[in-house]
Symmetry: D2
Subunit: 139 residues, 4 copies
């Protein structure tokens, strides 16, 4: 079951071309990620400054289909998926009303915050992946 | 009656000192301003790209009382006040729970977007000022 | 011949994890793009607000290899390449000293700023592509 | 002797009104502050993430005189001044060519990064204040 985050485009998000500055679409996707973590019970202050575990982004991409304007009401749908024991990726779909405006992806690895060595995803992240990820039904 | 806007501090708002980057407090105040305009019926896309009328900020100030952290739930109270026929200012109070974190101010003038000459505030802005401004009761 | 842009990482670029916020790497790449246009003689104010021609980004991606810290001196190497008569892409390599920190890509289409219909790249953009793009030597 | 920092306005700094977003002027001032620290020999990574000493901003203000456009070449003049044994302020003047575009101010206190209690300015900051501050000549 995907997580859905709603967000109004603000003046700060736009640039002199009159539309949302391209990199800010990723910032909005990250906001959706943060919102999903908060809903699942994570303490964001601890999560994003924790030296024992961090989930840096190692890859990201965006496809832009239509421009976004100040005041637009966005719906951002987020679907995480576990990749390996120490990594996951998140697919985002940003739409305005019925129209798809952009699709994005962030790929994360789990590391020890101090040594920056890879480590297995925690049980809590496993639960978050299950909560918002696609159901994989065995037959 | 002040307008109140609630906003969660996001990872993007923070800096390497672990707290909200100082200039981002003004961005959050401007978000509250945008939200109050939307509630009063303004079309934000038109409002912020309109060549006939614009309300640029000519002065701003902030007093910071305590640091803000990722995940903090902010309450931003906004109170506008007309200054002259072509200008107004907005006072903002940013609090986390019961604790005041910052106070800010933005002063705006009304100009023609093309000539950039000052002009009188529109009737719509007059109504917005009345809706959210302090009641001045005559005796 | 690639264009090279140097840029110091600033406090504003970082987040509470102590390193550059992921989406800001794209902002730095776009700065390199702007700098290359300025060196080639483009007027940036006109270029980025021109209603007759615009070059919106339709796709972007980044691979992150190592974290960037406040004060780091970055070297961003930019290599554009024409794709079709109405599109081009730019490859970016961000390094700190001898170490590659990230690789990014932006893909642009040329449109009429008002109708938003695709149109052929202008002669000026053709020259910019030649100036900074890879030499394709015929045999 | 004031420190002078030059900076080109970038697309990212602008908003849908076609000019620099007001809060970004403070970001540019902070860049000038960072540049002055680097020139005086401070390691920015340590300076801005140091738990033993930090210099948070407790007050800021800006007066805006004219709009700034993408591509504008800014000159930011910075003059620090010691206020008390544990505080200082910085005055900034932002100009484009001969024309003053904005004046800003940031007031900083020196604290212990962990306890967040006020402490005296270090000798290094004293030297920085002397290097870039106004000469006070005794008669």
């Amino acid at each position: 079951m995907a997580f859905t985050y709603t967000r109004t485009v603000r003046f700060q998000d736009t640039d002199a071309a009159g539309v949302v500055y391209f990199a800010n679409v990723l910032t909005m996707c990250h906001e959706a990620y943060e919102a999903s973590l908060a809903v699942s019970g994570f303490d964001l202050k601890v999560f994003f400054s924790n030296s024992t575990t961090a989930f840096p982004i190692v890859h990201t991409s965006v496809d832009f289909f239509r421009p976004l304007f100040c005041g637009d009401s966005l719906s951002i749908s987020l679907t995480p998926q576990k990749l390996q024991s120490d990594s996951f990726e998140i697919a985002y779909e940003i739409s305005v009303g019925e129209k798809m405006a952009a699709k994005a992806l962030t790929r994360h690895v789990c590391i020890d915050g101090k040594s920056r060595k890879r480590q297995e995803l925690s049980m809590e992240m496993g639960l978050w992946l299950q909560q918002w990820g696609e159901q994989i039904t065995e037959t």
